[in-house]
């Protein structure tokens, strides 16, 4: 194996350039030529939607880079100090070191604010691209055997990403993040039996507790990023092991993978996309203000500002907290407080269903064979309809999180807006689900696929395998 080039003239390694000599040096010690060649020739099918997971990966890299820089200046301490920095309106105000150092990063550390804002925008993009990537995998059936484990890893990273985003913006100890922490404390408190203990252990006592910022800091910068990094590696390793799914097309079957070689074109494009992602985030971080903590002021437990909205990925939970009726269960002096249902229970059901979905679907359809051809969403009307119905529900929840903004913007009564969302939460999922189902059936009919209202899963797969579009 002295030939690592494919297609071009044979070049004996070890003579020509520094690169060749280096490659020879490495190979003499690691014997990597065969493995490296396999890696270079790895085939990746091309489709724009396969880029979404990559975006999440690149956002994560940018989060690590900018985040590391921020740790050099951030002081995760709840010690009280008097602000003496260069932001005039807050000078002389008593605040925690956490908030003080966040202000310093924003005003007194050169390049601090741009790093902080890139970090925040990257976090938003990180979770967003994971969610859209999840949608792509869901609607194309990419979670089916043999990829169930990778689905589970992916859901876990999404949960960790959401939690770490929340932990991150909670560190700064401004009025908005303190309000968010207070809500998180109350949600923890609402868990039956264990809630009071969990809240006390997490916060180190009754809210606000002496330890929450420093604990969240360790969780935010060490624990969760490390777990995500490990899971991410496993996620990518499994993509290599399984080889990427591909959409049906001429010459594409369940027994092959058609696309570009990993090297050089695919790798170069991927590298290019990384830089373009970095560029996009740098632009946002530079010119689009995000989380202007100096406007919110330091956290005071007795204060709150109207229109307190969390980062977007917490919006569905905040909306659910607003929309859910004021039910509580009380018996024998014990109670299940209201936030338990919309926050703990709904999040539990959401992620529980996501984890279980590959197995639920396999059980219902009886389809337990390997799949490497991606479905087009229309070819699975039931799955697509259920997925869109769920999305509809979460969109209602998300908008519910802005009920007060909607009410003030359009001059409506908050009560009317909230009642509308309560009805919408029940009405929207079945309606959009039904419409989606009909659309899928109609689109499949136009494609010449079976048109009966009940579409058998096996039937479609068979036709697709033979390469119809």
């Amino acid at each position: 194996m002295t030939d690592v080039s494919t297609g071009s003239e044979k070049v004996p390694i070890g003579h020509r350039t520094v690169t060749h000599r280096l490659a020879r040096w490495v190979d003499d010690r690691l014997g990597t030529a065969r493995f490296a060649r396999t890696a270079l020739n790895k085939v990746f099918p091309d489709h724009w939607s396969f880029l979404l997971g990559e975006l999440a990966l690149y956002s994560f890299v940018i989060l690590l880079l900018t985040g590391t820089y921020l740790t050099f200046f951030f002081d995760a301490s709840q010690n009280l100090v008097t602000y003496q920095g260069s932001y005039g309106p807050l000078r002389g105000v008593e605040m925690t070191d956490a908030y003080r150092s966040a202000l310093d990063i924003s005003f007194d550390v050169r390049a601090g604010l741009v790093m902080r804002q890139i970090h925040h925008w990257a976090a938003l993009l990180f979770v967003a691209s994971m969610v859209v990537h999840l949608g792509r995998v869901f609607f194309t059936g990419g979670f089916r055997r043999p990829r169930e484990i990778n689905w589970i890893i992916g859901i876990t990273m999404l949960i960790l990403g959401i939690f770490n985003g929340f932990a991150g913006y909670s560190l700064l100890d401004d009025q908005l993040s303190g309000t968010g922490l207070r809500i998180a404390y109350s949600i923890t408190l609402s868990i039956p039996l264990a809630g009071t203990w969990l809240a006390s252990l997490l916060f180190g006592g009754e809210f606000p507790g002496p330890d929450i910022i420093s604990r969240l800091y360790v969780i935010h910068i060490l624990l969760i990023p490390a777990v995500i990094a490990v899971l991410l590696s496993a996620h990518l390793a499994l993509v290599v092991r399984h080889k990427h799914t591909q959409f049906p097309g001429p010459g594409r079957t369940d027994e092959n993978v058609v696309g570009e070689r990993a090297f050089p074109t695919y790798a170069a494009k991927a590298l290019g996309v990384f830089f373009l992602t970095a560029s996009f985030l740098a632009l946002l971080g530079g010119v689009v203000e995000i989380n202007p903590i100096w406007i919110y002021g330091p956290f005071e437990p007795a204060n709150v500002s109207a229109a307190s909205q969390p980062d977007w990925y917490m919006g569905w939970l905040d909306g659910a907290l607003r929309i859910f009726p004021n039910w509580e269960i009380r018996a024998f002096g014990f109670e299940v407080p209201n936030p338990f249902f919309p926050a703990v229970l709904m999040a539990g059901i959401t992620f529980g269903l996501l984890y279980a979905w590959p197995f639920l679907e396999a059980r219902v359809t009886g389809d337990r064979v390997e799949h490497h051809l991606a479905d087009r969403p229309r070819q699975r009307p039931v799955r697509t309809a259920l997925g869109v119905a769920a999305l509809g529900f979460f969109v209602v929840m998300f908008l519910g999180g802005a009920a007060d903004i909607i009410a003030t913007t359009f001059g409506l009564s908050v009560n009317a807006v909230l009642w509308t969302f309560r009805f919408a939460a029940i009405a929207v999922p079945p309606v959009v689900g039904y419409v989606t189902y009909q659309l899928c059936v109609e689109l499949s009919r136009r494609d010449g696929l079976p048109t009966r209202s009940r579409v058998e899963f096996g039937q479609i797969t068979e036709r697709l395998r033979r390469g119809s579009p």
């Binding site: 085939v43 809210f207 092959n256 290019g272 560029s279 709150v304």
Partner: protein, 300 residues
Amino acid sequence: MTAPHDASAPRPGDANEGIDADRSERIVAGAFGLAVLAAVGLGVTYWRGGQTQIEGILLAVAFGSIGVGIVVWAKAFMPDDEVTEERKSVASEEEDVAAFAADFEAGTTGLKRRRLLTSLAGAAFATLGGALLFPIRSLGPKPGRDLKVTPYAGDPKRLVTENGAPIRPDDLPVDGVLTVWPEGHTDAADAPTLLIRTRPSQELRLQGEKVGWVVGDVIAYSKLCTHVGCPVGLYQAEEGLLLCPCHQSTFDVLDGARPVFGPAARPLPQLPLDLDDEGFLIATGDFEAPVGPGFWDRGR
């Protein structure tokens, strides 16, 4: 192994097709050149004291043109032939599974009390795991009465403002709202109290002993929402309604702060008010109920 798939024949949509090589080279060169300029500009900006917007834009230009340069390079000058790789079923062949099972079980011969040993090993790991959970207990104090009492408990205490100033009922204008604390505890997170002076025309509908917890038209409730503990901040004096800005729970101040809308399920606990000898407002005891969000044994 990989095999070229139709590699020789150009296909419509091939990236290389119809690309002017000269032009592409110029674009790549221009992009990398621009990146150099932007990077230099970035250095100069930083050196001259930094400016967030310019830093962001220059970073974006530098990253962006490197990205564009690489992508154009890849599209114009790198092979884009479509290849087909065979895919075998992921599961192992049966003989491999059998061989593995044989190897795996090879060491277990001669074991007589296998069941006993494995259960004991399991028990060892389980008890050790359980024992290692104990240090978690060190993370926080036992949640006891802390959640149920506030600094108002015990002897009567004066109500004071944020600055520690005591308050007379007349300090508060009609429709006025003031956040107060028990004297000496203005930093207590569970003690913020809303002092509200209702209109003489507004009739308070209070139950039992709470009728006497009012001084004139001044009434006091815990400021912490019974939903998730946000400070209830907005007073609509006309209707006597308190609105929580977080999740829009609404409480009727005239009716014992009963929740009339939104997710809150319990009234804001009322504070027993009185006057001391000097005419300042005091609390004669703690709130009628634990303040803030609910929890499992709140009623015990």
